[in-house]
């Protein structure tokens, strides 16, 4: 950027401003490192005491037990992963189908309203979802399966699905909107019916955007605390069925941090590190895909 008559004064002013702003930027960018460092130092006592191995090999999570303390993270990890996958499995068909409906079957006004409603719903706090889940979803499960406690993997999956549904619906809608008109025109010119156009042309073309939305939903769901802590049942175990209670990592941290002893706390920090790793990997994969598709696809 060339400026013809920059006086040396304004140049030094700019340097100072650049310096201050640069400092702010480095603080912002470095914050995640600070967080990581604190997590690691919080987890350090456990690592030092050689518990890290047990963290991954112990079968149960009962760190406070005096009789048989076990520090296995696997049950909670399983809980987190399973409830997340269930949520996506429930939210994806519904979100995608409604996006397809609004893009190809509904009048444009309806599509606008659908999008506005989804945009509003994305702002609903997780704790409200969790509360409603406790009030409505859990008793409904008990009604259908009277022997089960109600609070379960299924309840968590349903509540989480509700949470990420607007996200998936919106990203799917945007992805379908971004299908080049030329392709839809080509499909029409060939006499392809609407269903074939959607299934053979539009959905494959929108696949990238839809997958991106799913990954975002996955990342959001696995990091969720409030929506699951109230409805999952809070028993750290690998579920044998949908109706078994579970306890994701996030719930464990939220529930136990308040009363954990020092060594117990360190393990909770380890759990937090595992969680952060998962989320960071997913987001990293997302932005890698995005930058690959931005540079990879050229024109026809």
């Amino acid at each position: 950027m060339t400026s013809s008559r920059n006086t040396s004064l304004s140049r030094s002013v700019d340097r100072v401003t650049g310096g201050i702003l640069g400092l702010i930027a480095i603080v912002s960018g470095g914050l995640v490192l600070v967080i990581l460092w604190h997590l690691i130092s919080g987890a350090w006592p456990a690592i030092e005491a050689g518990r890290l191995g047990l963290f991954f090999t112990d079968g149960k999570w009962q760190p406070g037990s005096e009789r048989d303390p076990q520090f296995g993270v696997v049950p909670m990890l399983a809980g987190s992963v399973l409830v997340t996958l269930l949520a996506v499995a429930l939210a994806l068909p519904v979100g995608l189908a409604s996006a397809v409906f609004h893009r190809f079957y509904a009048p444009p006004a309806l599509e606008r309203w659908h999008r506005r409603m989804m945009e509003l719903l994305i702002g609903v706090p997780a704790v409200v979802f969790g509360f409603w889940g406790l009030m409505v979803v859990v008793p409904a499960i008990v009604r259908f399966a009277p022997d089960s406690p109600g609070q379960s993997l299924l309840a968590g999956g349903i509540v989480l699905a509700l949470m990420i549904l607007p996200l998936i619906a919106l990203t799917s809608q945007a992805a379908l909107q971004a299908v080049p008109a030329a392709q839809l025109q080509a499909a029409a010119g060939l006499g392809l019916g609407r269903a074939s156009t959607i299934l053979s042309i539009a959905l494959p073309a929108a696949r990238g955007g839809i997958t991106g939305g799913v990954l975002l939903g996955l990342a959001r769901a696995i990091g969720e605390t409030m929506a699951v802590v109230l409805v999952c049942g809070n028993i750290p175990q690998i579920p044998q069925s949908l109706l078994d209670p579970i306890r994701p990592i996030t719930s464990t941290i939220a529930l136990e941090m308040g009363y954990a002893t020092a060594s117990h706390k360190a393990l909770l920090f380890c759990a937090a590190l595992v969680l952060v790793l998962f989320c960071a990997l997913m987001v990293g994969w997302l932005s890698f895909r995005k930058s690959a598709s931005d540079s990879g696809t050229g024109g026809a």
Binding site: P108, P180, A182, Q183, L184, Q185, A186, A187, A188, G189, L190, G191, L192, G193, S196, S200, I201, P204, A205, A300
Partner: protein, 276 residues
């Protein structure tokens, strides 16, 4: 020529309105295309002869593309677009009838667009999707693909990479692919909307030769800005011009006559290069 069931509702006479004689494939009567608040083209009456190449020429904005798109009801896709008047295929099928089977119509009247638009899937899928949709059985499809690719001269170039993405082909190859894709459905008419304008001169020449070779096999309607191209390949010509704020047909007839001695003064000015 295959004979799909064409006794559609809306049939008036065996060959459409009076004046549409037996050698025409498409009879257009008083066709107008309106968008929400403007009229793109008004009152076009034209017979498109079967098996020959008819060129639609005229300056930009005279509604040639709108007119072309109404011939296979692509205008239905545009919200707020209204088409008045009638179009008949020579077996009596009324294209403009509200209850016409639009999907079958578009198989019979194919279209190739200005910019090549192959599906970003494998070359094979580009053919399988429309062929399956219109009822070809999986058994017959590979032969069909080879047949049309040979027809457009692409078989030798792509026969060993049918699984590759169609967008990996060059612009000229993609356009020939789109032509083959339209031909695969065994159409009676193929519409071309300035098919060479997005191509380099060499590819343009190849596509032009290909279109010329279709003469006699099916009816071609081609919109083009290149008068030289029209002179080279057209058997019939129709000249469009702006009249009263909308496109209109000002001259039509055998290509030699229209290009050498046009009757309409505006057409004469356009064709001599003085205006437009």
């Amino acid at each position: 020529m295959t004979s799909p069931d064409t006794s559609r509702a809306g049939e008036t006479a065996p060959c459409g309105p009076p004046g549409c004689c037996g050698s025409s494939n498409l009879c257009i009567a008083d066709l107008s295309v309106h968008y929400r608040d403007l009229t793109a083209v008004r009152g076009v009456t034209l017979d498109i002869p079967e098996g020959e190449i008819t060129a639609l020429v005229g300056p930009s904005g005279c509604g040639k593309t709108s007119f072309l798109h109404s011939l296979n009801r692509l205008t239905d896709l545009i919200p707020g677009c209204r088409v008045t008047g009638s179009i008949h295929l020579c077996d009596g099928t009324e294209i403009t009838h509200p209850k016409a089977d639009v999907l079958e119509l578009r198989r019979r009247v194919g279209i190739v667009f200005q910019r090549p638009n192959p599906f970003p899937q494998s070359i094979r899928r580009n053919f399988e999707i429309p062929l399956k949709e219109h009822g070809w059985s999986q058994r017959d499809i590979p032969d069909r693909i080879e047949q049309v690719l040979r027809e457009v001269g692409l078989w030798n170039e792509v026969s060993d990479r049918l699984h590759q993405n169609a967008t990996s082909l060059s612009g000229g190859q993609q356009q020939r692919l789109c032509i083959a894709r339209a031909l695969a459905l065994d159409p009676e008419v193929v519409l071309f909307d300035e098919p060479c304008s997005a191509l380099d001169p060499i590819a343009s020449g190849v596509v032009e030769d290909l279109i010329h070779s279709l003469k006699g096999k099916l009816t071609v309607v081609i919109v083009t800005h290149h008068l030289a191209q029209a002179r080279r390949i057209a058997d019939h010509a129709a000249v469009f011009w702006m009249k009263d704020g909308a496109g209109a047909l000002v001259e039509h007839g055998p290509a030699d006559r229209v290009f050498s001695a046009p009757a309409d003064p505006d057409a004469a000015l356009y064709l001599s290069g003085a205006r437009g």
